[in-house]
Protein backbone atom coordinates (compact mmCIF):
# COMPACT_ATOMS: atom_id res chain seq x y z
CA UNK A 1 0.00 0.00 0.00
CA UNK A 2 2.90 2.40 0.70
CA UNK A 3 3.96 1.96 -2.96
CA UNK A 4 0.54 3.14 -4.13
CA UNK A 5 0.62 6.10 -1.76
CA UNK A 6 4.06 7.17 -2.97
CA UNK A 7 3.01 6.80 -6.60
CA UNK A 8 0.07 9.13 -6.03
CA UNK A 9 2.18 11.64 -4.11
CA UNK A 10 4.73 11.74 -6.95
CA UNK A 11 2.15 11.95 -9.76
CA UNK A 12 0.30 14.83 -8.09
CA UNK A 13 3.43 16.41 -6.60
CA UNK A 14 1.40 16.67 -3.44
CA UNK A 15 2.85 15.24 -0.19
CA UNK A 16 -0.30 16.20 1.65
CA UNK A 17 -3.32 14.60 3.23
CA UNK A 18 -6.60 16.27 4.10
CA UNK A 19 -7.90 15.49 7.57
CA UNK A 20 -11.65 14.92 7.49
CA UNK A 21 -12.25 15.82 11.15
CA UNK A 22 -15.61 17.55 11.02
CA UNK A 23 -16.85 19.39 14.08
CA UNK A 24 -20.53 20.26 13.76
CA UNK A 25 -19.48 23.90 14.20
CA UNK A 26 -17.54 23.73 10.90
CA UNK A 27 -20.57 22.57 8.92
CA UNK A 28 -22.31 25.49 7.14
CA UNK A 29 -25.76 26.35 8.52
CA UNK A 30 -27.65 25.47 5.33
CA UNK A 31 -26.24 21.91 5.35
CA UNK A 32 -27.13 21.46 9.01
CA UNK A 33 -30.64 22.79 8.40
CA UNK A 34 -31.27 20.49 5.44
CA UNK A 35 -30.08 17.49 7.46
CA UNK A 36 -32.18 18.41 10.49
CA UNK A 37 -35.24 18.90 8.29
CA UNK A 38 -34.82 15.39 6.97
CA UNK A 39 -33.79 13.57 10.18
CA UNK A 40 -34.71 15.99 12.98
CA UNK A 41 -32.21 17.29 15.53
CA UNK A 42 -30.96 13.76 16.13
CA UNK A 43 -27.68 11.86 15.97
CA UNK A 44 -28.82 10.74 12.49
CA UNK A 45 -29.33 14.40 11.54
CA UNK A 46 -25.87 15.36 12.80
CA UNK A 47 -24.30 12.41 10.97
CA UNK A 48 -26.09 13.33 7.75
CA UNK A 49 -24.83 16.94 8.05
CA UNK A 50 -21.27 15.70 8.53
CA UNK A 51 -21.55 13.31 5.59
CA UNK A 52 -22.93 15.93 3.19
CA UNK A 53 -20.21 18.35 4.28
CA UNK A 54 -17.49 15.72 3.75
CA UNK A 55 -18.89 14.77 0.36
CA UNK A 56 -18.85 18.36 -0.90
CA UNK A 57 -15.26 18.85 0.25
CA UNK A 58 -14.08 15.54 -1.23
CA UNK A 59 -15.77 16.41 -4.54
CA UNK A 60 -13.90 19.73 -4.55
CA UNK A 61 -10.41 18.45 -3.72
CA UNK A 62 -10.10 14.77 -4.69
CA UNK A 63 -8.16 15.41 -7.92
CA UNK A 64 -5.47 17.42 -6.10
CA UNK A 65 -4.55 15.04 -3.27
CA UNK A 66 -3.38 11.45 -2.80
CA UNK A 67 -5.13 10.73 0.47
CA UNK A 68 -7.57 11.72 3.19
CA UNK A 69 -7.35 11.09 6.92
CA UNK A 70 -10.74 10.86 8.62
CA UNK A 71 -10.43 11.17 12.42
CA UNK A 72 -12.80 8.52 13.77
CA UNK A 73 -13.35 10.27 17.13
CA UNK A 74 -15.25 13.05 15.37
CA UNK A 75 -17.72 10.44 14.10
CA UNK A 76 -17.71 8.20 17.17
CA UNK A 77 -19.03 11.13 19.25
CA UNK A 78 -22.31 10.71 17.35
CA UNK A 79 -22.56 7.00 18.21
CA UNK A 80 -23.68 4.48 15.60
CA UNK A 81 -25.06 7.07 13.14
CA UNK A 82 -21.71 8.89 13.33
CA UNK A 83 -19.72 5.71 12.70
CA UNK A 84 -22.00 4.93 9.78
CA UNK A 85 -21.07 8.36 8.34
CA UNK A 86 -17.41 7.44 8.93
CA UNK A 87 -17.79 4.21 6.95
CA UNK A 88 -19.69 6.02 4.19
CA UNK A 89 -17.00 8.71 4.01
CA UNK A 90 -14.24 6.08 3.73
CA UNK A 91 -16.12 4.25 0.95
CA UNK A 92 -16.84 7.47 -0.95
CA UNK A 93 -13.21 8.57 -0.79
CA UNK A 94 -12.07 5.19 -2.08
CA UNK A 95 -14.57 5.44 -4.96
CA UNK A 96 -12.91 8.75 -5.87
CA UNK A 97 -9.49 7.06 -6.02
CA UNK A 98 -8.25 8.43 -2.70
CA UNK A 99 -6.18 6.49 -0.19
CA UNK A 100 -7.88 6.42 3.20
CA UNK A 101 -5.79 6.77 6.36
CA UNK A 102 -8.09 5.98 9.29
CA UNK A 103 -6.90 8.07 12.23
CA UNK A 104 -8.05 5.63 14.88
CA UNK A 105 -5.02 5.47 17.25
CA UNK A 106 -6.07 2.01 18.39
CA UNK A 107 -3.80 -0.29 20.31
CA UNK A 108 -4.42 -3.26 22.58
CA UNK A 109 -2.83 -6.70 22.93
CA UNK A 110 -2.83 -9.97 21.04
CA UNK A 111 -6.21 -11.06 19.79
CA UNK A 112 -7.71 -7.70 20.74
CA UNK A 113 -5.25 -5.75 18.59
CA UNK A 114 -5.91 -8.33 15.87
CA UNK A 115 -9.63 -7.56 16.15
CA UNK A 116 -9.00 -3.84 15.59
CA UNK A 117 -6.71 -4.60 12.65
CA UNK A 118 -9.21 -7.00 11.12
CA UNK A 119 -12.04 -4.52 11.64
CA UNK A 120 -10.29 -1.60 9.96
CA UNK A 121 -7.78 -2.89 7.41
CA UNK A 122 -8.49 -6.60 7.22
CA UNK A 123 -11.20 -9.13 6.62
CA UNK A 124 -13.23 -11.34 8.94
CA UNK A 125 -14.69 -14.76 8.40
CA UNK A 126 -18.39 -15.25 9.20
CA UNK A 127 -19.34 -18.85 8.56
CA UNK A 128 -18.26 -19.49 4.97
CA UNK A 129 -18.22 -15.78 3.96
CA UNK A 130 -15.62 -13.04 4.29
CA UNK A 131 -16.34 -9.39 5.14
CA UNK A 132 -14.64 -6.09 5.92
CA UNK A 133 -16.08 -4.13 8.84
CA UNK A 134 -14.49 -0.83 7.82
CA UNK A 135 -12.22 -0.55 4.83
CA UNK A 136 -9.35 1.88 5.37
CA UNK A 137 -5.97 1.54 3.62
CA UNK A 138 -3.85 2.69 6.54
CA UNK A 139 -4.60 3.22 10.22
CA UNK A 140 -2.74 4.99 13.02
CA UNK A 141 -1.64 2.82 15.97
CA UNK A 142 -0.70 3.64 19.58
CA UNK A 143 2.51 1.83 20.71
CA UNK A 144 2.22 2.11 24.53
CA UNK A 145 1.54 -1.64 24.94
CA UNK A 146 4.67 -2.65 23.00
CA UNK A 147 5.17 -5.25 20.27
CA UNK A 148 2.17 -7.31 21.45
CA UNK A 149 -0.01 -4.38 20.45
CA UNK A 150 1.59 -3.47 17.13
CA UNK A 151 2.57 -6.81 15.60
CA UNK A 152 -1.02 -8.02 15.08
CA UNK A 153 -1.50 -4.93 12.88
CA UNK A 154 1.71 -5.72 10.99
CA UNK A 155 0.48 -9.26 10.36
CA UNK A 156 -2.73 -7.95 8.83
CA UNK A 157 -0.73 -5.42 6.75
CA UNK A 158 1.35 -8.26 5.31
CA UNK A 159 -1.68 -10.36 4.52
CA UNK A 160 -3.83 -7.61 3.01
CA UNK A 161 -1.17 -5.25 1.61
CA UNK A 162 -2.19 -2.44 3.90
CA UNK A 163 -0.20 -0.06 6.10
CA UNK A 164 -0.02 1.60 9.52
CA UNK A 165 1.44 4.77 11.03
CA UNK A 166 2.67 4.25 14.60
CA UNK A 167 2.63 7.22 16.99
CA UNK A 168 6.22 8.18 17.78
CA UNK A 169 6.22 11.87 18.71
CA UNK A 170 2.85 13.57 18.69
CA UNK A 171 2.25 17.26 17.89
CA UNK A 172 0.54 18.34 21.13
CA UNK A 173 2.16 20.53 23.84
CA UNK A 174 2.16 17.80 26.54
CA UNK A 175 3.49 15.05 24.27
CA UNK A 176 6.83 15.35 26.07
CA UNK A 177 5.43 14.27 29.45
CA UNK A 178 6.14 10.64 28.62
CA UNK A 179 7.47 10.60 25.04
CA UNK A 180 10.50 12.85 25.78
CA UNK A 181 11.61 11.10 28.99
CA UNK A 182 15.26 10.13 28.76
CA UNK A 183 16.17 6.46 29.03
CA UNK A 184 19.98 6.24 29.39
CA UNK A 185 20.19 9.57 27.59
CA UNK A 186 17.84 8.55 24.78
CA UNK A 187 14.31 9.95 24.64
CA UNK A 188 11.52 7.38 24.75
CA UNK A 189 10.24 8.43 21.31
CA UNK A 190 13.59 7.30 19.87
CA UNK A 191 13.17 3.89 21.46
CA UNK A 192 9.73 3.71 19.88
CA UNK A 193 11.25 4.82 16.55
CA UNK A 194 13.80 1.99 16.69
CA UNK A 195 10.98 -0.49 17.22
CA UNK A 196 9.10 1.04 14.30
CA UNK A 197 12.13 0.33 12.10
CA UNK A 198 12.25 -3.27 13.37
CA UNK A 199 8.50 -3.83 12.80
CA UNK A 200 8.80 -2.12 9.42
CA UNK A 201 11.53 -4.43 8.12
CA UNK A 202 8.98 -7.25 8.14
CA UNK A 203 6.68 -5.40 5.83
CA UNK A 204 8.64 -3.50 3.20
CA UNK A 205 7.33 -1.88 0.02
CA UNK A 206 9.78 -1.05 -2.79
CA UNK A 207 11.72 1.70 -1.05
CA UNK A 208 9.71 2.49 2.06
CA UNK A 209 7.99 0.29 4.62
CA UNK A 210 4.25 -0.25 5.04
CA UNK A 211 4.90 0.55 8.70
CA UNK A 212 5.13 4.32 8.89
CA UNK A 213 5.11 6.64 11.88
CA UNK A 214 3.60 9.86 13.19
CA UNK A 215 5.86 12.78 14.11
CA UNK A 216 4.28 16.17 14.77
CA UNK A 217 5.20 19.24 12.69
CA UNK A 218 5.57 21.19 15.91
CA UNK A 219 8.85 19.47 16.85
CA UNK A 220 11.14 19.97 13.80
CA UNK A 221 14.39 19.37 15.69
CA UNK A 222 13.13 15.97 16.76
CA UNK A 223 11.77 15.39 13.27
CA UNK A 224 15.30 15.85 11.90
CA UNK A 225 16.79 13.24 14.24
CA UNK A 226 13.94 10.81 13.68
CA UNK A 227 14.18 11.18 9.88
CA UNK A 228 17.80 9.94 10.03
CA UNK A 229 16.98 7.18 12.47
CA UNK A 230 14.19 5.78 10.26
CA UNK A 231 15.31 6.29 6.65
CA UNK A 232 12.77 3.87 5.17
CA UNK A 233 9.83 4.92 7.34
CA UNK A 234 7.18 7.23 5.90
CA UNK A 235 6.32 10.01 8.34
CA UNK A 236 2.74 11.19 8.68
CA UNK A 237 3.05 14.76 9.95
CA UNK A 238 0.17 16.38 11.84
CA UNK A 239 0.37 19.88 13.29
CA UNK A 240 0.80 21.95 10.08
CA UNK A 241 -1.36 25.09 9.93
CA UNK A 242 -3.89 25.39 12.73
CA UNK A 243 -1.51 23.80 15.30
CA UNK A 244 1.37 26.13 14.33
CA UNK A 245 3.69 24.00 12.14
CA UNK A 246 5.17 25.99 9.21
CA UNK A 247 6.29 24.74 5.77
CA UNK A 248 9.98 25.55 6.38
CA UNK A 249 9.82 23.48 9.59
CA UNK A 250 8.74 20.49 7.55
CA UNK A 251 11.80 20.26 5.31
CA UNK A 252 13.74 17.99 7.73
CA UNK A 253 10.92 15.43 7.63
CA UNK A 254 11.70 14.68 3.95
CA UNK A 255 14.53 12.53 2.61
CA UNK A 256 16.93 13.62 -0.15
CA UNK A 257 14.69 11.82 -2.66
CA UNK A 258 11.98 14.39 -1.90
CA UNK A 259 9.89 11.62 -0.36
CA UNK A 260 9.40 10.20 3.13
CA UNK A 261 6.75 12.53 4.56
CA UNK A 262 3.09 13.32 4.07
CA UNK A 263 1.73 16.38 5.82
CA UNK A 264 -1.79 16.57 7.22
CA UNK A 265 -4.04 19.58 7.53
CA UNK A 266 -7.56 19.23 8.89
CA UNK A 267 -9.30 22.40 10.09
CA UNK A 268 -7.06 24.54 7.85
CA UNK A 269 -8.59 22.86 4.81
CA UNK A 270 -12.09 21.71 5.71
CA UNK A 271 -13.00 24.89 7.58
CA UNK A 272 -10.98 27.20 5.32
CA UNK A 273 -14.05 29.35 4.66
CA UNK A 274 -14.05 30.34 8.36
CA UNK A 275 -10.55 31.84 8.04
CA UNK A 276 -9.97 35.50 7.19
CA UNK A 277 -7.79 34.47 4.24
CA UNK A 278 -10.62 32.60 2.50
CA UNK A 279 -13.59 34.50 3.91
CA UNK A 280 -14.34 36.10 0.53
CA UNK A 281 -15.55 32.69 -0.73
CA UNK A 282 -18.50 32.95 1.64
CA UNK A 283 -20.12 30.13 3.61
CA UNK A 284 -22.09 28.93 0.56
CA UNK A 285 -18.83 28.27 -1.34
CA UNK A 286 -17.06 26.47 1.52
CA UNK A 287 -15.90 23.66 -0.75
CA UNK A 288 -14.25 26.09 -3.20
CA UNK A 289 -12.49 27.69 -0.25
CA UNK A 290 -11.21 24.22 0.73
CA UNK A 291 -9.95 23.64 -2.83
CA UNK A 292 -8.02 26.91 -2.79
CA UNK A 293 -6.62 26.08 0.65
CA UNK A 294 -5.40 22.69 -0.65
CA UNK A 295 -3.68 24.38 -3.63
CA UNK A 296 -2.03 26.90 -1.31
CA UNK A 297 -0.90 24.18 1.09
CA UNK A 298 0.64 22.09 -1.71
CA UNK A 299 2.45 25.14 -3.12
CA UNK A 300 3.66 26.11 0.36
CA UNK A 301 5.09 22.70 1.17
CA UNK A 302 6.51 21.72 -2.21
CA UNK A 303 8.03 25.21 -2.45
CA UNK A 304 9.76 24.85 0.90
CA UNK A 305 11.02 21.33 0.12
CA UNK A 306 12.26 22.30 -3.38
CA UNK A 307 13.97 25.41 -2.02
CA UNK A 308 16.32 23.43 0.24
Amino acid sequence: MINTLIEKIVTLNAPVVVGLDPMLSYVPKQIQQAAFEEYGETLEGAAEAVWQYNKAIVDAVYDLIPAVKPQIAMYEQFGIPGLTAFAKTCEYCKSKGLIVIGDIKRGDIGSTSSAYAVGHIGTIQVGSKTYSGFREDFVTVNPYLGSDGVKPFVEVCKKENKGIFVLVKTSNPSSGEFQDQLVDGTPLYELVARKVVEWGEECMGNTYSNVGCVVGATYPEMGKVLRKLMPKTYILVPGYGAQGGKAEDLVPYFNADGLGAIVNSSRGIIAAYQQERYASFGEGNFADASRQAVKDMIADITGAVAGQ
Copy 2:
Protein backbone atom coordinates in the same frame (compact mmCIF):
# COMPACT_ATOMS: atom_id res chain seq x y z
CA MET B 1 -19.36 6.89 39.70
CA ILE B 2 -16.51 5.33 41.69
CA ASN B 3 -18.69 5.59 44.84
CA THR B 4 -21.43 3.55 43.15
CA LEU B 5 -18.92 0.96 41.96
CA ILE B 6 -17.45 0.58 45.45
CA GLU B 7 -20.91 0.31 47.00
CA LYS B 8 -21.77 -2.55 44.67
CA ILE B 9 -18.45 -4.30 45.27
CA VAL B 10 -18.98 -4.12 49.04
CA THR B 11 -22.64 -5.20 48.95
CA LEU B 12 -21.88 -8.23 46.78
CA ASN B 13 -18.45 -8.91 48.33
CA ALA B 14 -17.27 -9.29 44.76
CA PRO B 15 -14.28 -7.23 43.59
CA VAL B 16 -14.63 -8.69 40.11
CA VAL B 17 -15.69 -7.65 36.65
CA VAL B 18 -16.69 -9.92 33.79
CA GLY B 19 -15.06 -9.08 30.47
CA LEU B 20 -17.58 -9.40 27.65
CA ASP B 21 -15.00 -10.02 24.91
CA PRO B 22 -16.80 -12.48 22.65
CA MET B 23 -14.86 -14.21 19.91
CA LEU B 24 -17.16 -15.93 17.45
CA SER B 25 -15.36 -19.16 18.34
CA TYR B 26 -16.68 -18.91 21.93
CA VAL B 27 -20.31 -18.69 20.82
CA PRO B 28 -22.04 -22.09 20.99
CA LYS B 29 -22.97 -23.56 17.62
CA GLN B 30 -26.75 -23.47 18.18
CA ILE B 31 -26.67 -19.71 18.84
CA GLN B 32 -24.56 -19.09 15.74
CA GLN B 33 -26.90 -21.24 13.63
CA ALA B 34 -30.04 -19.47 14.86
CA ALA B 35 -28.47 -16.06 14.12
CA PHE B 36 -27.28 -17.14 10.65
CA GLU B 37 -30.71 -18.54 9.85
CA GLU B 38 -32.26 -15.17 10.64
CA TYR B 39 -29.61 -12.85 9.13
CA GLY B 40 -27.53 -15.08 6.90
CA GLU B 41 -23.77 -15.53 7.24
CA THR B 42 -23.34 -11.76 7.41
CA LEU B 43 -21.87 -9.18 9.78
CA GLU B 44 -25.43 -8.73 11.07
CA GLY B 45 -25.64 -12.48 11.69
CA ALA B 46 -22.33 -12.50 13.57
CA ALA B 47 -23.40 -9.47 15.63
CA GLU B 48 -26.71 -11.12 16.48
CA ALA B 49 -24.90 -14.29 17.61
CA VAL B 50 -22.60 -12.24 19.84
CA TRP B 51 -25.51 -10.27 21.28
CA GLN B 52 -27.58 -13.40 22.11
CA TYR B 53 -24.50 -15.00 23.68
CA ASN B 54 -23.82 -11.89 25.81
CA LYS B 55 -27.45 -11.64 26.86
CA ALA B 56 -27.56 -15.24 28.08
CA ILE B 57 -24.36 -14.78 30.08
CA VAL B 58 -25.49 -11.48 31.58
CA ASP B 59 -28.82 -13.05 32.57
CA ALA B 60 -26.92 -15.84 34.32
CA VAL B 61 -24.42 -13.70 36.26
CA TYR B 62 -25.79 -10.17 36.75
CA ASP B 63 -26.86 -10.70 40.38
CA LEU B 64 -23.38 -11.85 41.42
CA ILE B 65 -21.22 -9.05 40.04
CA PRO B 66 -20.97 -5.26 40.23
CA ALA B 67 -19.77 -4.59 36.69
CA VAL B 68 -19.01 -5.82 33.19
CA LYS B 69 -16.21 -4.77 30.85
CA PRO B 70 -17.10 -5.15 27.17
CA GLN B 71 -13.98 -4.96 24.97
CA ILE B 72 -15.05 -2.79 22.02
CA ALA B 73 -12.46 -4.27 19.61
CA MET B 74 -14.33 -7.57 19.63
CA TYR B 75 -17.42 -5.75 18.33
CA GLU B 76 -15.61 -3.24 16.08
CA GLN B 77 -14.21 -6.16 14.07
CA PHE B 78 -17.75 -6.70 12.77
CA GLY B 79 -18.10 -3.08 11.65
CA ILE B 80 -21.34 -1.17 12.23
CA PRO B 81 -23.44 -4.25 13.07
CA GLY B 82 -20.81 -5.22 15.65
CA LEU B 83 -20.77 -1.77 17.22
CA THR B 84 -24.55 -1.83 17.35
CA ALA B 85 -24.28 -5.09 19.33
CA PHE B 86 -21.78 -3.32 21.62
CA ALA B 87 -24.23 -0.47 22.28
CA LYS B 88 -27.07 -2.95 22.83
CA THR B 89 -24.94 -4.97 25.26
CA CYS B 90 -24.04 -1.83 27.24
CA GLU B 91 -27.69 -0.78 27.46
CA TYR B 92 -28.83 -4.24 28.47
CA CYS B 93 -26.21 -4.49 31.21
CA LYS B 94 -27.26 -1.09 32.55
CA SER B 95 -30.89 -2.20 32.58
CA LYS B 96 -29.81 -5.12 34.77
CA GLY B 97 -28.17 -2.71 37.24
CA LEU B 98 -24.60 -3.42 36.17
CA ILE B 99 -21.88 -0.80 35.88
CA VAL B 100 -20.40 -0.77 32.39
CA ILE B 101 -16.66 -0.30 31.93
CA GLY B 102 -16.07 0.26 28.22
CA ASP B 103 -12.65 -1.20 27.42
CA ILE B 104 -11.92 1.19 24.56
CA LYS B 105 -8.31 2.28 25.28
CA ARG B 106 -8.89 5.53 23.37
CA GLY B 107 -6.54 8.46 23.56
CA ASP B 108 -5.90 11.43 21.32
CA ILE B 109 -5.43 15.16 21.93
CA GLY B 110 -7.58 18.12 22.83
CA SER B 111 -10.87 18.30 20.97
CA THR B 112 -10.32 14.79 19.59
CA SER B 113 -9.99 13.23 23.04
CA SER B 114 -13.02 15.31 24.05
CA ALA B 115 -14.94 13.75 21.17
CA TYR B 116 -14.12 10.23 22.39
CA ALA B 117 -15.08 11.17 25.96
CA VAL B 118 -18.32 12.77 24.81
CA GLY B 119 -19.13 9.79 22.62
CA HIS B 120 -18.64 7.17 25.33
CA ILE B 121 -19.30 8.71 28.75
CA GLY B 122 -20.72 12.15 27.93
CA THR B 123 -23.43 13.91 26.03
CA ILE B 124 -23.43 15.81 22.76
CA GLN B 125 -25.52 18.76 21.67
CA VAL B 126 -27.33 18.44 18.32
CA GLY B 127 -29.22 21.65 17.64
CA SER B 128 -31.39 22.13 20.73
CA LYS B 129 -31.27 18.47 21.80
CA THR B 130 -28.79 16.43 23.85
CA TYR B 131 -27.76 12.83 23.13
CA SER B 132 -25.39 10.09 24.22
CA GLY B 133 -23.63 8.17 21.45
CA PHE B 134 -22.67 5.24 23.64
CA ARG B 135 -23.45 5.17 27.35
CA GLU B 136 -20.72 3.52 29.39
CA ASP B 137 -20.02 4.44 33.04
CA PHE B 138 -16.24 4.13 32.84
CA VAL B 139 -13.83 3.81 29.92
CA THR B 140 -10.17 2.83 29.69
CA VAL B 141 -7.76 5.48 28.37
CA ASN B 142 -4.27 5.28 26.81
CA PRO B 143 -1.88 7.87 28.30
CA TYR B 144 0.89 7.95 25.62
CA LEU B 145 -0.07 11.47 24.45
CA GLY B 146 0.18 12.94 27.96
CA SER B 147 -2.16 15.28 29.82
CA ASP B 148 -3.59 16.73 26.58
CA GLY B 149 -5.00 13.30 25.91
CA VAL B 150 -6.31 12.42 29.37
CA LYS B 151 -7.61 15.72 30.77
CA PRO B 152 -10.49 16.02 28.29
CA PHE B 153 -11.74 12.69 29.66
CA VAL B 154 -11.36 13.98 33.24
CA GLU B 155 -13.40 17.09 32.34
CA VAL B 156 -16.23 14.91 31.06
CA CYS B 157 -15.99 12.70 34.18
CA LYS B 158 -16.41 15.77 36.38
CA LYS B 159 -19.36 17.05 34.39
CA GLU B 160 -21.20 13.74 34.09
CA ASN B 161 -20.09 11.89 37.25
CA LYS B 162 -18.36 9.15 35.26
CA GLY B 163 -14.92 7.57 35.57
CA ILE B 164 -11.87 6.35 33.66
CA PHE B 165 -9.12 3.78 34.08
CA VAL B 166 -5.79 4.94 32.64
CA LEU B 167 -3.35 2.29 31.37
CA VAL B 168 -0.31 2.27 33.65
CA LYS B 169 1.22 -1.21 33.44
CA THR B 170 -0.48 -3.64 31.10
CA SER B 171 -0.62 -7.41 31.55
CA ASN B 172 0.99 -8.49 28.25
CA PRO B 173 4.52 -9.97 27.95
CA SER B 174 5.94 -7.05 25.92
CA SER B 175 4.42 -4.32 28.11
CA GLY B 176 7.90 -3.65 29.47
CA GLU B 177 9.35 -2.58 26.10
CA PHE B 178 8.33 1.00 26.79
CA GLN B 179 6.47 0.97 30.13
CA ASP B 180 9.41 -0.43 32.14
CA GLN B 181 12.10 1.84 30.72
CA LEU B 182 13.99 3.58 33.50
CA VAL B 183 13.93 7.37 33.62
CA ASP B 184 16.49 8.50 36.23
CA GLY B 185 16.03 5.13 37.91
CA THR B 186 12.23 5.28 37.87
CA PRO B 187 10.26 3.11 35.45
CA LEU B 188 8.03 4.98 33.02
CA TYR B 189 4.89 3.30 34.41
CA GLU B 190 5.62 4.99 37.74
CA LEU B 191 5.79 8.39 36.01
CA VAL B 192 2.42 7.61 34.45
CA ALA B 193 1.13 6.52 37.88
CA ARG B 194 2.15 9.86 39.40
CA LYS B 195 0.24 11.69 36.68
CA VAL B 196 -2.76 9.46 37.33
CA VAL B 197 -2.68 10.61 40.98
CA GLU B 198 -2.48 14.24 39.85
CA TRP B 199 -5.37 13.88 37.36
CA GLY B 200 -7.33 11.95 39.96
CA GLU B 201 -7.14 14.68 42.60
CA GLU B 202 -9.34 16.83 40.38
CA CYS B 203 -12.09 14.26 40.35
CA MET B 204 -12.41 12.58 43.74
CA GLY B 205 -15.24 10.39 45.00
CA ASN B 206 -15.65 9.85 48.77
CA THR B 207 -12.51 7.81 49.39
CA TYR B 208 -11.24 6.90 45.92
CA SER B 209 -10.89 8.92 42.73
CA ASN B 210 -13.00 8.63 39.59
CA VAL B 211 -9.66 8.40 37.77
CA GLY B 212 -8.53 4.82 38.20
CA CYS B 213 -5.78 2.88 36.51
CA VAL B 214 -5.00 -0.45 34.84
CA VAL B 215 -2.23 -2.66 36.26
CA GLY B 216 -1.94 -6.22 34.98
CA ALA B 217 -2.24 -9.19 37.36
CA THR B 218 0.85 -10.68 35.75
CA TYR B 219 3.20 -8.16 37.43
CA PRO B 220 2.43 -8.45 41.18
CA GLU B 221 5.75 -6.93 42.33
CA MET B 222 5.00 -3.81 40.33
CA GLY B 223 1.39 -3.91 41.51
CA LYS B 224 2.66 -3.72 45.10
CA VAL B 225 4.75 -0.61 44.42
CA LEU B 226 1.99 1.04 42.39
CA ARG B 227 -0.62 0.33 45.11
CA LYS B 228 1.45 2.36 47.59
CA LEU B 229 2.14 5.12 45.09
CA MET B 230 -1.55 5.61 44.28
CA PRO B 231 -3.45 5.00 47.56
CA LYS B 232 -6.70 6.59 46.34
CA THR B 233 -6.65 5.13 42.84
CA TYR B 234 -8.85 2.15 42.04
CA ILE B 235 -6.93 -0.47 40.08
CA LEU B 236 -8.62 -2.40 37.29
CA VAL B 237 -6.65 -5.66 37.08
CA PRO B 238 -6.66 -7.68 33.85
CA GLY B 239 -4.65 -10.85 33.42
CA TYR B 240 -6.31 -13.11 36.03
CA GLY B 241 -7.03 -16.64 34.86
CA ALA B 242 -6.44 -17.21 31.17
CA GLN B 243 -3.41 -14.86 31.12
CA GLY B 244 -1.83 -16.55 34.14
CA GLY B 245 -2.49 -14.23 37.11
CA LYS B 246 -3.33 -16.12 40.34
CA ALA B 247 -5.50 -15.01 43.28
CA GLU B 248 -2.58 -14.91 45.72
CA ASP B 249 -0.72 -12.60 43.31
CA LEU B 250 -3.61 -10.15 43.52
CA VAL B 251 -3.45 -9.47 47.24
CA PRO B 252 -0.95 -6.58 46.91
CA TYR B 253 -3.36 -4.75 44.57
CA PHE B 254 -5.80 -4.24 47.48
CA ASN B 255 -5.55 -1.67 50.25
CA ALA B 256 -5.89 -2.46 53.97
CA ASP B 257 -9.57 -1.48 53.72
CA GLY B 258 -10.09 -4.51 51.47
CA LEU B 259 -10.85 -2.15 48.59
CA GLY B 260 -8.86 -0.52 45.80
CA ALA B 261 -8.90 -3.21 43.13
CA ILE B 262 -11.36 -4.85 40.79
CA VAL B 263 -10.21 -7.97 38.95
CA ASN B 264 -11.30 -8.79 35.41
CA SER B 265 -11.77 -12.17 33.84
CA SER B 266 -13.02 -12.50 30.28
CA ARG B 267 -12.48 -15.83 28.52
CA GLY B 268 -12.27 -17.62 31.89
CA ILE B 269 -15.89 -16.68 32.55
CA ILE B 270 -17.64 -16.27 29.22
CA ALA B 271 -16.09 -19.35 27.64
CA ALA B 272 -16.00 -21.36 30.87
CA TYR B 273 -17.91 -24.21 29.21
CA GLN B 274 -14.91 -24.78 26.91
CA GLN B 275 -12.63 -25.49 29.89
CA GLU B 276 -12.10 -28.96 31.28
CA ARG B 277 -13.17 -27.79 34.73
CA TYR B 278 -16.66 -26.80 33.53
CA ALA B 279 -16.99 -29.17 30.59
CA SER B 280 -19.65 -31.24 32.39
CA PHE B 281 -22.13 -28.35 31.95
CA GLY B 282 -22.10 -29.02 28.20
CA GLU B 283 -22.28 -26.46 25.42
CA GLY B 284 -26.06 -26.07 25.80
CA ASN B 285 -25.61 -24.89 29.41
CA PHE B 286 -22.78 -22.47 28.69
CA ALA B 287 -24.43 -19.71 30.77
CA ASP B 288 -24.68 -21.94 33.84
CA ALA B 289 -20.99 -22.77 33.41
CA SER B 290 -20.28 -19.02 33.38
CA ARG B 291 -22.30 -18.55 36.59
CA GLN B 292 -20.32 -21.28 38.34
CA ALA B 293 -17.05 -19.79 37.07
CA VAL B 294 -18.04 -16.37 38.48
CA LYS B 295 -18.81 -17.92 41.87
CA ASP B 296 -15.49 -19.76 41.87
CA MET B 297 -13.61 -16.60 40.87
CA ILE B 298 -15.22 -14.53 43.64
CA ALA B 299 -14.46 -17.23 46.23
CA ASP B 300 -10.88 -17.52 44.97
CA ILE B 301 -10.17 -13.79 45.16
CA THR B 302 -12.05 -12.89 48.33
CA GLY B 303 -10.49 -15.95 49.99
CA ALA B 304 -6.98 -14.86 49.06
CA VAL B 305 -7.58 -11.25 50.15
CA ALA B 306 -9.22 -12.27 53.46
CA GLY B 307 -6.45 -14.77 54.16
CA GLN B 308 -3.73 -12.10 54.30
